[in-house]
Amino acid sequence: MQSANMLVKKIVRCSVFPFAAQHGMKKDLFPLTRTLILSPCLKEDNSRSPSEKLDLDAWKEVMKSGLQEVSETVSEHKEISTLAAAREILEMWRLAGRLVPENFSEEQLKTFMECPSKSAKKKYLKYLHLKELYKKNDKRKMDEKRERRLEMQERASKTEEPKRNSFLCLWASSMDKTYNWRVAQSMIFGQPLVFDMSYEKDMSVREVANTVRQIVLSEGSNRRSVDPFHIHFCNFKDDSLYHKEFIKHYREAWSKLLITVTDQCYTDIFPKDKLIYLTADSPKVMKTFDHDKIYIVGSMVDKSIKTGVSLAQAKRLGLETAALPLEKYLLWNSGAKNLTLDQMMHILLTLKDTGDWKKALEFVPKRKYCGFVNKPVHELKKTLNLINVLKLGKRQKELQKQFAKNYSKKLTQK
């Protein structure tokens, strides 16, 4: 208790000291004013207040004066449209320090007004704000890069070094050609991989945009792989939201992509017994990668965790389903078991090339698991049980849970 008191005293003393010192210095700076006001019987702050009082409200005068013209212009804006009003409120929010973007397009303003609730509005604003920030940063980096390049060029022109750019260009374009050759080959001989594009109704606009982004990434990594899949987009409707987003990403390249796009269902193209629908909700766990089967991946991002949507689809069509053996190989930490489409693509490509689960599951985000299981999980559980029985006898279930937790912690520490 005493030591605590001491500590408090020390802190108080420390925090007071600098100010006291400053007051002291001030006295030296203005000896005249001080001596006029200071009288021995009055305390310092009492004596200061009359002279300071006038000072304290000075800011109000400053704020009120000099801005009279502004207030006159206000009256002209009596009738403002709702859009303009919203713009003004947003401007005030920005001034108040909320996360609001600086610039607004008319369209964004309209989407903002259509948001159904306050929190939806807040979220949308934050999203726009972050987007603006990223854009700004990117632009800044680009500018810096350009400057550096210009400097380099200047220096290069001075020293008159031979240019190597032509070789690089050749390299890139020839790589592109090789990739395209491979993909073209896979379109004839390769193993099909189906993206099921029938989930547009289950997603919001932003989720569809995210889905398409992920598919674009997967297509890219497929193209660059040694032995690519023959990608099929099934149930693909022209002029759907998917279509629009794809064109946004690929532009003219969309029609030149080496993939099969169709509005048919996969069940119409392939024999049913060869199809396997990959879904995290499946009760069946995938054991090995089968080179004769055709795997289907649902093109869906579900931020609101709609369980069983793709399982329902597979059930409806009477297809076999499978889930990745995540539990078997990884000590799962947190997060949903559904992976992004590009992660799925990486995993499937690795499996196809090597058949090595450990290598393939490296692509699961690190935050989601604690480590790899070197023995099968059920064996681990058995040994845990044995230890419990030997050590403690009773209360198995509770202790077992604790043990499992500790075990996973140990693994992460390693």
């Binding site: 200061r48 000072d55 704020m63 009120k64 000099g66 502004v70 399982l311 329902a312």
Partner: protein
């Protein structure tokens, strides 16, 4: 950093600012800390003066922070000054500033000004709930109950949910008044609690009790009590409303369960059309059941026992007195395993009807359907709180119906009891209720944690003494 204790001169502020590690946000951090440490406003003023003199302007965010400090310390004239400045300086204000000003003024003798501000807010945006709350409380404090009621109705019309605080304020401020109109309003609030199944907390309950007892000439007496399981009030011997739904409510609920919970957006997500049809014909052929059991849930009651033994015990216990039982399970229960012995399963099937769903189907939805289809007398057994199914229902009215029905029909088992003793389902309805000359109001202890499936056991009984 800790704000200084006394007003500083310009150069002292400058020095402080330079010693701060990121000078560009110095003022903001300083003002935040002033609010946190509740510094004297003179200190804040001196900083504002310094800023005004050096920059010729003060940012909106700093003014709002200064306003927060003034509101915190109840400096009314200062609040008005800041408001005037803001009005001159900016075309409109945003909600944060309005919130502060309205709250600050409503607590002072200039509370009418808060009302005019509320009108001003209405012109540019929808006022927030706290805006209304401050104004209603201010009006109540000055005995302008009609005004308070008007604002309250305006708030309800905008689909805002009033806090219990505001409702309590009504009872606090109308104590001892003899005004039939006002009395009607307060009864309206009690009915609002009833319709939304809201339970007042202890202090709110006291406000209600004191108000009733203060009505001149009506001789209300309030007692705190517990209601017996049979639903009789020990104080006035009044029988509480029973928990049965009306015919219409019942039909409504079963329809909605089938539509929203079982089918939802896609029948395949929880079952399949074939399976559901098979289940429907199965149930129709054997109707009506008295008790429907969630087999898998019950089988996990005692973790150290074999799962089928648990279920066997439960079925045996409930199978007395010729009741018709239906046990719902999944197909994997039929495969002989360490947890599911075929002989025991066979024996059970003589005592009860069994329906086995696919292993990937959800049996809970079937449980609800079978119970509702069997009629009002039918109960069901599960430890599940069925929250996910409640969440599938699309509107709050049906969700309330579902809770009410669940309270009346679910037999749950007390955890960790050694023997299987079914807990009785509630026979009375746990909501605010009245017969005109009596009121019964369930309330919760403030300290007791309350979940939506748990209802309070404590009641306030109010009756008139002649």
């Amino acid at each position: 950093i800790q704000p200084p204790e006394k007003p500083l001169q310009a150069e002292e502020w400058n020095r402080l600012r330079e010693s701060f590690k990121s000078p560009e946000i110095f003022e903001e951090v300083m003002f935040n800390n002033m609010v946190r440490y509740n510094s004297p406003i003179d200190v804040a003023k001196s900083l504002l003066t310094h800023l005004a003199k050096s920059n010729g302007d003060i940012g909106y965010n700093l003014l709002v922070k200064y306003l927060a400090l003034c509101v915190q310390q109840g400096k009314t004239s200062e609040i008005r000054d800041v408001y005037d400045i803001l009005k001159i300086r900016f075309k409109i204000l945003e909600s944060g500033a309005y919130n502060l000003i309205i709250r600050g003024l409503s607590n002072s003798d200039q509370w009418r000004m808060a009302l005019t501000l509320l009108e001003e807010v209405k012109k540019i945006m929808i006022p927030s709930r706290t805006n209304y709350e401050s104004c209603i409380k201010a009006a109540g404090r000055h005995q302008e109950m009609t005004l308070a009621c008007e604002l309250y109705h305006e708030m309800l019309a905008k689909d805002m949910v009033p806090t219990l605080d505001v409702l309590q304020a009504f009872f606090d401020y109308s104590r001892g008044m003899k005004d039939p109109e006002l009395q009607k309003e307060l009864f309206g609030i009690l009915l609002y609690l009833r319709e939304n199944q809201i339970y007042p907390h202890k202090t709110f309950m006291w406000s209600i009790k004191l108000w009733f007892e203060s009505i001149p000439g009506e001789n209300w007496r309030g007692h705190l009590t517990n209601i017996t399981d049979s639903g009789q009030c020990p104080v006035c011997n009044h029988q509480l409303e029973d928990s049965e739904l009306t015919e219409e409510e019942y039909n409504n609920l079963s329809e909605r369960i089938i539509r929203d919970v079982i089918h939802g957006t896609d029948t395949f997500r929880k079952t399949s059309p074939q399976e559901f049809e098979a289940f429907q014909t199965f149930v129709e052929n054997r109707l009506p059941f008295d008790i429907v059991i969630d087999g898998l849930n019950v089988s996990h009651i005692k973790p150290r026992k074999m799962q089928c033994e648990n279920l066997f015990e439960a079925v045996n216990c409930l199978a007395k007195n010729n009741v018709r039982l239906l046990v719902l399970g999944r197909k994997h229960m039929l495969i002989n395993s360490s947890n599911w012995k075929r002989e025991i399963m066979k024996e059970m099937q003589n005592k009860a009807d069994f329906f086995f769903a696919e292993n990937i189907s959800e049996d809970d939805a079937f449980l609800l359907y079978a119970t509702l289809r069997s009629g009002k007398h039918c109960k069901f057994v599960t430890r599940d709180f069925l929250r996910d199914h409640k969440a599938c229902l699309s509107d709050s009215l049906t969700r309330h119906l579902f809770r009410k029905w669940q309270r009346g029909h679910q037999i749950s088992k007390k955890k960790f009891l050694f023997f299987f003793i079914p807990q009785p389902a509630f026979r009375y309805d746990c909501v605010v209720q009245t017969t005109g000359d009596t009121w019964h109001i369930p309330y919760k202890d403030t300290f007791e944690e309350k979940y939506s499936y748990r209802v309070p056991r404590k009641w306030l009984c109010l009756h008139q003494k002649y």
